[in-house]
């Protein structure tokens, strides 16, 4: 039976055609995977489905009835439920409050908490989604928050569940658990749209696959008939060199003395982030060491410590044998290249011009200022050089940097750091959310920097990236860093276990001169 039919959906934003005549259908009890690069039009399509946008043309029907466009409430009422990649939960409320939000008429004089609680409990029981209804959402782990999101949708009577990149925040083991839940949901007659760009997952969970590229539906068919490479080709539009084995094997640590020595760093973030306990690591010139881990296990705090924006409460860091002060300007002066996770809000100041951003960390340099006065011509010339050398696409370096795409901002930020011939590069999630072209560009640049003799610390949640680039991998879990072992030592499974914090032979960190 047909659960959902999208016919001839088109949507333009100015010049950009986000969705071009897309027709799709979803059967009852079916898992449809929706594949596509960032910007392929997946989220536009889902926003239209949920009434957040109105399509320029086309129609949607749910269980045979036409869905009124632009009406989020109608979409929910007809049984559509969405689990967003970025959770839409209010942290100050309890699980039950979050589940109840919006389910009762806003004019009612009191909430029926007892009934709601009973219903939530029975749903949780039925689908095996254990959760403490009274816990504040703020205190939940990521996997639990996702469970709350799924329960929220089920509580609203969702018959069609849409999950947007649901595994991006999970360990491989948690992902397996999620897949079990999804199979149970499908067995109960629900239909699922599974949005992802991870091919293995898609092949594992879906019955049918649809691939979007530049707003068009370029492939649709049963999963059985698809292969990893056929899907990748459909997604990207050309053959991709298998990136799995591209690690520069000729690269060898060129020195026995560590470039970066992290000794027993403990830190406590000001926010609710997990704290770091006795983190130690030695990094030698010419090697790439990756820190893998599930989002929210302390990697971002460690990155902030090494970026010089969070002060550790204990421990110290040596650079080329010298102790280094952990503040941002000292790190810059010491020749550390820093690539932050959030390029739009941390790496760059959106309202400042491109050239101002290009010089900001080194503005005190004699190259860019003299007696407190900016040398703006020199700065502009320097920026133009960066722009051409690192292939940044822009119309003017005078424009605010926020007008650039994420990939172009990242290229500029990377260029700004790498052109200083750093001895150490700390990169946090450097390719997060970028398109394939920008990703391979950034991977190449990092490999090349290591080949030139820089020590590279790559903090990443993307295991493909970790395996592709790293010489050694260490896993971070609950604020503790495991031992950095050669990449060949790891399998996906052992890495997943370590990320989940399972005790294994790798536990007990002693990373000195591994």
């Amino acid at each position: 039976m047909n659960a959902l039919t999208l016919s001839h959906i088109s949507k333009r934003f100015g010049e950009l055609v986000a969705n071009d005549d897309i027709s799709l259908s979803l059967d009852k009890g079916e898992v449809l995977a929706l594949l596509g690069e960032n910007g392929a039009g997946k989220s536009t399509l889902m926003n239209i489905l949920f009434g957040h946008y109105v399509a320029d043309s086309g129609s949607i029907s749910v269980f045979g009835d036409v869905l009124p466009p632009g009406d989020p409430r109608a979409a929910i009422a007809r049984g559509l439920g969405m689990v967003h990649q970025h959770f839409t939960l209010a942290d100050n409320l309890s699980v039950l409050d979050n589940v109840m939000l919006g389910t009762e008429s806003i004019t009612r004089m009191r909430t029926s908490r007892a009934e709601a609680l009973a219903r939530l409990r029975s749903l949780a029981e039925r689908f095996g989604l254990q959760i403490n209804a009274d816990a504040l959402v703020r205190s939940l782990a990521v996997g639990e928050k996702q469970r709350v999101e799924i329960l929220k949708a089920l509580y609203r009577g969702a018959r069609i569940l849409i999950l947007d990149e649901p595994t991006s925040v999970l360990t491989p083991q948690e992902a397996t658990q999620l897949f079990a839940t999804l199979r149970q949901l499908v067995a109960e007659g629900l239909s699922i749209i599974f949005i992802s760009h991870k091919l293995d997952e898609v092949l594992a969970i879906s019955h049918r696959v649809a691939v979007l590229r530049s707003g068009k539906l370029v492939f649709e068919g049963p999963t059985q008939s698809a292969t990893k490479s056929s899907l990748a080709r459909a997604m990207i539009g050309r053959d991709v060199e298998s990136s799995g084995e591209s690690r520069a094997d000729g690269r060898r640590a060129i020195s026995e003395k560590p470039t970066l020595l992290i000794e027993k760093i403990s830190a406590q973030g000001e926010d609710a982030r997990i704290s770091l306990h006795d983190v130690s690591l030695a990094l030698r010139a010419g090697e790439i060491v990756a820190i893998a881990g599930v989002s929210g296990n302390g990697q971002s705090l460690l990155a902030d410590v090494l970026f010089g924006v969070e002060r550790p409460i204990a421990g110290h860091v040596q650079l080329n044998g010298e102790p280094v002060a952990l503040n941002a300007s000292a790190m810059v002066k010491a020749g550390v290249a820093r690539v932050p996770e959030d390029r739009q809000h941390v790496g760059s100041v959106g309202d400042l011009s491109v050239w101002e951003n290009a010089i900001l960390p080194r503005v005190s340099d004699a190259r860019f200022s003299n007696m407190g006065l900016l040398k703006s011509n020199a700065a502009r010339g320097y920026t133009r050089e960066l722009v051409s050398k690192f292939d940044v696409r822009l119309s003017s370096i005078e424009h605010p940097i926020r007008k650039l795409s994420g990939g172009n901002i990242q290229k500029l930020l990377l260029g700004r750091e790498l052109s200083e011939s750093p001895t150490l590069i700390v990169a946090a999630q450097p390719t997060w959310g970028l398109d394939v072209g920008a990703v391979s560009f950034i991977h190449e640049e990092l490999s090349r920097a290591a080949a030139r003799g820089a020590a590279v610390l790559l903090i990443s949640e993307d295991l493909d990236e970790v395996f592709a680039l790293a010489d050694r991998i260490a896993v971070m879990s609950r604020g503790r860093l495991g031992k950095a072992l050669p990449t060949g030592h790891w399998t996906l499974e052992s890495l997943g276990l370590a990320m989940a914090g399972e005790p294994s032979e790798h536990a007990g960190a002693d990373n000195h001169a591994a």
Binding site: N47, H52, T88, A90, N92, L101, I106, T111
Partner: protein, 307 residues
């Protein structure tokens, strides 16, 4: 010190405390509603002036006292709607728009007062609310019905916020508008409603000054009370019960300084006593600042479809 102790046993003193606290209770609850929904409303100072003026003008022109309160509430609501238009519908800076509203409402009230009363030396008087002698309770009997209303509003607002679907939505929208939008609730309408309701309470706070505490309207009578409410809400962690406590605590110190100023005589300059409430507000802010749990979306404009 002795003097201070006799103060605590003096019913007159506690009557003054409750009287001083009343506009602060209304105002702080108003700020609470706005900020719980994620909107800073620095228009409060001007809304107090407008409420004081229009409430008084209504009564002066022959309307009843309660009609005056209603008019003040409506005036507050209208100014709140203007603020919401600027910062909820349009993503303007909440600081600047609020200050603009304060300047606008204050100057418009003063202008209107001078148009209606071009040449009066002493401000015209009205017959204000009378104490509720019939209540037969100590201290509370000496207050006017508006004080009782203010106190009753505290549990009422608590109930709405914690026990109704609407309150749940308001608490959520100040923390994560995306969570609210995702449930098909209109963020704009919800925030606008909360700001209008909160501003109406601020209007009532203003009317208390002219219809109960005093019996006429004069310039500068609001004198920073609105700003104090904005400080008190941080101290109150955005909770109605604590807002009441904060307002009472502030009023306690204000009443104490008034009394000490009178009885203490020339020992210290009177300005030092007058400074005390403002200094204490700052001290209270410093004490709670570190652990203040601001609503996460406070002051962040919500543009649909953005993150």
């Amino acid at each position: 010190m002795n003097e201070f102790l006799t103060l605590l046993g003096d019913a007159e003193f506690w009557i003054a405390v409750l009287r001083i606290a009343t506009p602060l209770i209304f105002g702080t609850l108003g700020v609470l509603l706005c900020e719980r929904a994620g909107v800073l409303n620095l228009g409060i100072e001007g809304i107090l002036v407008a409420g004081a003026f229009l409430g008084w003008l209504t009564v002066y022109s022959g309307g009843g006292l309660w009609l005056g309160v209603l008019v003040a509430a409506i005036a507050g609501g209208v100014l709140g709607a203007l603020h919401a238009l600027l910062v909820v519908r349009l993503p303007l800076s909440q600081h600047v728009a609020g200050l603009g509203i304060t300047l606008f409402a204050t100057s418009l009230s003063y202008f209107a007062y001078r148009v209606v009363f071009p040449k009066v030396d002493s401000p015209p008087k009205i017959e204000p609310f009378q104490p509720m002698e019939w209540l037969g309770l100590p201290i509370l009997s000496a207050q006017t019905p508006l004080t009782l209303l203010a106190i009753l509003l505290v549990p009422a607002l608590w109930y709405v916020l914690t026990r109704t679907p609407l309150g749940l939505a308001i608490r959520a929208v100040g923390e994560s508008p995306h969570a609210v939008e995702a449930q098909g609730i209109n963020v704009m309408h919800l925030r606008t409603g909360a700001v209008v309701a909160g501003s109406a309470l601020m209007g009532v706070a203003g009317s208390f000054l002219t219809l109960s505490a005093f019996n006429s309207f004069f310039f500068n009578m609001v004198n920073g009370r609105g700003w104090i409410c904005v400080a008190l809400i941080v101290f109150a962690s955005w909770r109605p019960g604590k807002a009441l406590l904060g307002a009472l605590l502030f009023a306690f110190f204000d009443a104490a300084q008034l009394r000490l100023q009178q009885s203490g005589g020339g020992a210290l300059p009177y300005q030092l006593y007058l400074m005390l409430p403002y200094v204490l507000s700052i001290v209270a802010l410093v004490l709670v600042a570190r652990k203040a749990a601001y609503p996460q979306a406070l002051m962040q404009p919500y543009v649909k479809g953005s993150r």
